[in-house]
């Protein structure tokens, strides 16, 4: 089980790095709480003026926000820190330190996807799940074990889709070094905190078919409220699989273009 042992080693090393800067803990908590507060208040203000919007009311929009916060937390737990170390600001492509990464006797994609963990994000995960729990209580529905399983599967496929898209955006760096493509994605992903039906048609098409961020949050939200059919769950798992295969192929193709940072 070498890959698992490696991941455990990455997790441990990341924890030690984070623990060295303890004052960041306070900053991290502040940011998380602010993020949660602005998200929830935004929805409360909106539904202070209207009862429902395109079939979404306060509890169901809150459910979606809970899923958005949960997915974001999982993303900043390991996907973002790992990929930012590759293609972010002062990342390895930028500095040329990627030379040492590709020399290691491990699969490059495995390495760049899982090597950095940001344990502070586990606090965000708790907050996200908390919002989700409160929203479900507000909805006043009982949740069957089957719905919980469907939710976990839908959440898993959402995170995999998110990973695949981010890998593609990060991989674009091989064509244009110096452009922070993942930051562009961040902007689009923020839109997933509201239901797609609240946006105009052209934007809905973009967020469903071109950069499918809408799918990432809506499918798990539908799963927990029991509005998701087996067929759509299977479709989203299928989409996750297809996207991961495509993203990996794209990343490997880009990798061939890497020619280090200096001449």
């Amino acid at each position: 089980m070498k890959p698992l042992r490696l991941v455990a080693a990455f997790m441990k090393a990341s924890f030690q790095e984070e623990a060295a800067y303890r004052s960041n803990f306070f900053i991290s908590i502040t940011t998380s709480v602010l993020n949660l507060g602005t998200g929830v208040l935004g929805i409360v203000v909106l539904f202070g003026q209207i009862q429902s919007l395109q079939g979404w009311d306060l509890p169901s929009t809150l459910t979606l926000l809970g899923v958005y916060l949960t997915v974001s937390a999982l993303r900043s737990l390991f996907i973002s820190p790992s990929l930012e170390a590759l293609s972010g600001m002062d990342g390895e492509i930028w500095s040329g330190a990627f030379d040492f990464t590709i020399m290691r006797p491990v699969d490059v994609q495995f390495m760049v996807s899982l090597r950095k963990w940001r344990w502070f994000a586990s606090f965000d995960l708790l907050l996200g799940l908390g919002v989700l729990l409160i929203a479900v209580i507000q909805l006043g529905i009982t949740i069957s074990p089957a719905q919980v399983i469907a939710f976990v599967l839908a959440l898993f496929s959402g995170v995999v889709i998110l990973y695949a898209i981010l890998l593609i955006f990060a991989g674009l760096i091989f064509w244009s070094p110096g452009v922070l493509f993942t930051w562009i994605f961040d902007g689009l992903f923020q839109m997933a905190r509201y239901p797609l039906s609240m946006y105009p048609g052209w934007l809905r098409l973009v967020l469903t078919w071109i950069v499918p961020v809408g799918v990432i949050t809506t499918i798990p939200a539908q799963a927990i409220t029991g509005a998701l059919s087996m067929q759509n769950l299977a479709l989203s798992l299928g989409l996750a699989l297809v996207l991961v295969v495509l993203a990996s192929a794209f990343f490997r193709h880009g990798l061939k273009r890497y020619a280090s940072a200096s001449s």
């Binding site: 004052s23 960041n24 306070f26 900053i27 502040t30 940011t31 602010l34 507060g37 602005t38 208040l41 935004g42 409360v44 203000v45 909106l46 202070g48 003026q49 209207i50 919007l53 395109q54 244009s176 110096g178 452009v179 922070l180 930051w183 562009i184 961040d186 902007g187 689009l188 923020q190 839109m191 905190r193 509201y194 609240m198 946006y199 105009p200 052209w202 934007l203």
Partner: protein
């Protein structure tokens, strides 16, 4: 003074040319939150006006807000704290020009770059989303001082917060708090008139509305003529507080500054 400022601005632009796309990506990131609320509110007001605002008026309000938010956003506030923390304040202090001019030059240089990105995008959005703006020349004239004061207030308010870095290493948490309060109370999440009563009162007393929302409301005609002068008075009063705090903190902070690690 003017020549040295122009030299600073030119130098900044040249150094930024290496990261051209970086600044556009930053501007894109700042544009998204108000854009989300523009779209959500204009969908909500699709059938009937909300609190007297029609769909087209929401679009106009938010398109102006996107530009005002960008024009008043003080990016330098984040760098001032870093300069102090990493002991890089040294070169700035050694130059024969006032240290504040460095921050002001970077402010100006930044605004030109960001607005060069935002203006065409807002024009495109205006074509797609069809805003309704009932423009009066009086509102346009009042908008200019409101915008300048809003920028000065947002800049100096962030500046005194950033100067706290002389005493506390991670004072930038306060800047993040300021950004959140601006999001909630400065007309981004919703026009002030649509906030719940408690938040509305807070918004009218605290300085944050006067950093973004106030000029937007002035231009879109949401401020009664009777409330115009009191609005300017509150804006100017908070600006005076912010400038005073900046001066006091700068003077006493400089005495503590020992070029940490520099």
């Amino acid at each position: 003074m003017i020549r040295s400022s122009l030299a600073l601005i030119r130098g900044l632009w040249l150094s930024w040319l290496q990261y051209r796309s970086f600044f556009f990506i930053l501007a894109f990131g700042w544009l998204i939150p108000p854009l989300i609320y523009l779209l959500v509110w204009s969908t909500a007001a699709g059938d009937q006006a909300i609190a007297g605002l029609t769909r087209g008026q929401f679009v106009a309000y938010y398109l102006v807000l996107i530009l005002v938010n960008q024009a008043t956003y003080a990016q330098t506030n984040w760098t001032v704290g870093d300069l102090i923390r990493y002991g890089q304040m040294n070169h700035i202090l050694l130059r024969p020009i006032p240290p504040l001019s460095d921050a002001l030059a970077s402010e100006f240089a930044g605004k030109v770059v960001y607005l060069a990105f935002d203006l065409p995008l807002v024009a495109l959005l205006a074509l797609i989303l069809r805003p309704e703006l009932d423009f009066h020349i009086n509102n346009g004239l009042a908008f200019i001082p409101a915008l300048v004061l809003a920028w000065a207030l947002r800049f100096f308010w962030g500046y005194w917060l950033a100067l706290l870095a002389f005493w506390a290493a991670r004072a930038d948490a306060l800047l993040a708090l300021q950004d959140s309060l601006i999001f909630l109370l400065a007309g981004q999440v919703a026009p002030i008139a649509l906030l719940p009563p408690a938040m509305q009162t807070l918004a009218k007393i605290l300085p944050f509305r006067y950093m973004v929302a106030f000029p937007v409301e002035v231009l879109t005609g949401q401020v009664d003529p009777a409330n115009l002068l009191p609005g300017f008075a509150i804006q100017a009063a908070w600006l005076a507080v912010a400038v005073l705090l900046s001066i006091v903190l700068w003077r006493s902070g400089l005495r503590r500054y020992t070029a940490l690690g520099g």
